[in-house]
Amino acid sequence: MKQWLRRADPGFYRDEPRVLLAKAQVPRYSLEAQAEARLNVMAADRTLYFATALVALGAFTIAICAGALDPRTNWLTISAFAVLAVVAPNALPSLSQMRPHGAASARKLAGVSLVAVAVALLVSEHLHPIPSAVLLGALTAGACVFGVQAIGRISSLHPQIVTYLAFTALLVVCAYTFAFNAAAAALRVPAEIVALAVAYLGICIMAGRIRRAEFVARPNGGLSIPQSIVPLLERSHDHAVICWLI
């Protein structure tokens, strides 16, 4: 009789042990998966990229006192901030690609920073040794990438922290300018206020786009700890309650 039953319903005898052994399972949409999805959305967002570029451009304008700084005597300041202004908007898209294509993205960032250093070299009166210029560019780019990676790890749980850190970075640039180049800054106050306003506008846009990424990257299914009891023949979901977004 049992042999006949095994032939009549082989699925019953094949799958029942698997069903009974189903214990707690990892939810399909963990916090790490959500963070990964959010990072990918943010990295592919061109509006966020341009907003970051606005912030970087505004910070650079403030750092060079809206052009009041002499590039020949302040080459170090100008070139360092130039590198940061170029690397910052590209850091987030590169960060998302770094995981599968680490070497290629690192080379891209290094190339961008070298271009910025070369441009700064051209406007400088003094011929600095090229190795020191390359080292400066590499250190600055490396610091920027390291900072973005650290921010990326924190923002995986709290995306809006990027907004606060952008404000912080801008204020640090302002503090640096106020402390070391106040005289030059006093020559172009209206232009610097405009640049600062543009940078703050960029941060506001960044905050809105990050919030949008949080909405877009929400999981569309929520699972519970499985009940491990599944009525006969239906074995697609070993869970008590499944809730899906529409």
Partner: protein, 392 residues
């Protein structure tokens, strides 16, 4: 919207932004103030640099909190009962009773609990913009696989404007109950072989119906039937002049057969396997009773609900009786005992003879059950008679 029907939140939960971000921003503000305070020539620049972010964060934080407080619940729509393995659409309506500002980026989230299983992390549905004085609806598709009572609620609505120092979550305490009945099975067509020789009403000892009998239909005439019970109208309509139809009567106060469900816990320690078999048996019993009801048979369903409580249900071919049976099966659990079960089975066989179907949770019949004139369905038999689970 009627304002009186809107429920305010019972509390507002506030979650602070990451302290490291706020600390860094605070330190940067102080640094900028100190650096710029020594240079009066750039005072306007310093004031603008410090005031804008501070004001923005303060204003946005206040808006976030006031928006969460202005939210009201207009209720949820969901069924009061459903079958396991089925889905239903859950909709939840929120209203914004604020006067001026819209609620931007509101995330809503329900909580589910079914027995000891609790789902707190259901997906958040977004309402992009909820204008002042308007309502918005969030929807989810919910599948319940576990029979029993499922509680939906409380609901949460979260607001966090970009740059806000807090996330404000309004909690609405409404809880809705959904009765998740056993899953619907389809049974194979040959399941009525279980009735072969088991139907109590097979064979009549009296030619004419008793006063308590009711007319239940007509069948073809068989030699030996009472001529007084011939259905004249159907017989006149028959194409063959030699064909007759006989009226059938049945005593509505008497059940046609008895169905006993085993709910005794395992004695060999394999609790998981036993529970799995119980779930299968419960769904099978519900499907079997529906099939019997379709054949206009009255079933007496017996099972042990608690150690000292035996439940007997009369399941007539009526929706109300079938619903009552499913609600009873929804709560069935392994709370019986072998002694009481044996006594119940013997009593049923004494009353109904061979018209007893015993749904057991053990793979083999016990020796004393083999001697009884009833049919015993073990877990090995159920898949033979089960075709598929009904779900959309």
């Amino acid at each position: 919207m009627n304002a009186a029907e809107l429920e305010p939140p019972i509390r507002i939960e506030t979650t602070l932004a990451p302290p490291i971000g706020m600390a860094a921003l605070g330190a940067a503000l102080v640094l900028a103030v100190i650096a710029g305070a020594l240079h009066p020539a750039i005072r306007a620049l310093v004031v603008f640099a410090v005031a804008f972010p501070a004001l923005w964060i303060v204003v946005v934080t206040a808006l976030t909190h006031s928006t969460a407080r202005a939210l009201r619940s207009a209720g949820a729509k969901l069924p009061s009962h459903m079958h396991a393995m089925e889905s239903f659409r859950l909709t939840y309506t929120l209203a914004n009773v604020g006067q001026a500002f819209p609620a931007v980026g509101v995330l809503t989230n329900p909580r589910f609990s079914s027995g000891e299983v609790k789902l707190d992390s259901a997906p958040w549905a977004a309402l992009p913009v909820l204008e002042a004085g308007r309502a918005g609806t969030s929807s989810w598709d919910v599948t319940a696989n576990r029979r029993g009572v499922m509680l939906v609620g409380p609901f949460r609505a979260s607001v966090e404007l970009p740059g806000s120092a807090i996330r404000s979550t309004a909690v609405f305490q409404e809880v809705y109950t959904v009765n998740v009945l056993p899953a619907e099975y389809h049974l194979a067509p040959f399941v009525d072989t279980l009735l072969a020789g088991r139907h109590v009403a097979v064979g009549r000892y009296l030619k004419l119906p008793a006063a308590t009998d009711e007319y239940v239909g007509a069948r073809e005439y068989r030699p030996g039937d009472a001529p007084k019970l011939i259905h004249r109208v159907l017989s006149l309509r028959a194409l063959d002049p030699d064909q007759f139809y006989e009226r059938e009567f049945q005593d509505p106060s008497r059940e046609d057969l008895s169905l006993v469900l085993d709910t005794s816990p395992p004695i060999d320690g394999d609790d998981l396997l036993h529970r799995y078999r119980l779930e299968k048996a419960i769904c099978f019993v519900a499907a079997l009773c529906r099939m019997f009801a379709a054949r206009r048979l009255t079933v007496r369903f017996v099972y042990q609900r608690a150690p000292h409580e035996v439940v007997m249900l009369r399941v007539r071919p009526l929706d109300s009786d079938l619903n009552r049976l499913e609600r009873e099966l929804m709560r069935a659990d392994l709370r019986g005992n072998r002694v009481t079960l044996g006594r119940v089975v013997r009593d049923e066989v004494r009353r109904y003879g061979a018209a007893v179907i015993f749904v057991s949770l053990r793979p083999r019949e016990l020796v004393e059950q083999q001697r009884l004139a009833m049919v015993t369905l073990t877990p090995d038999h159920l898949p033979v008679f089960t075709r598929e689970v009904v779900h959309e």
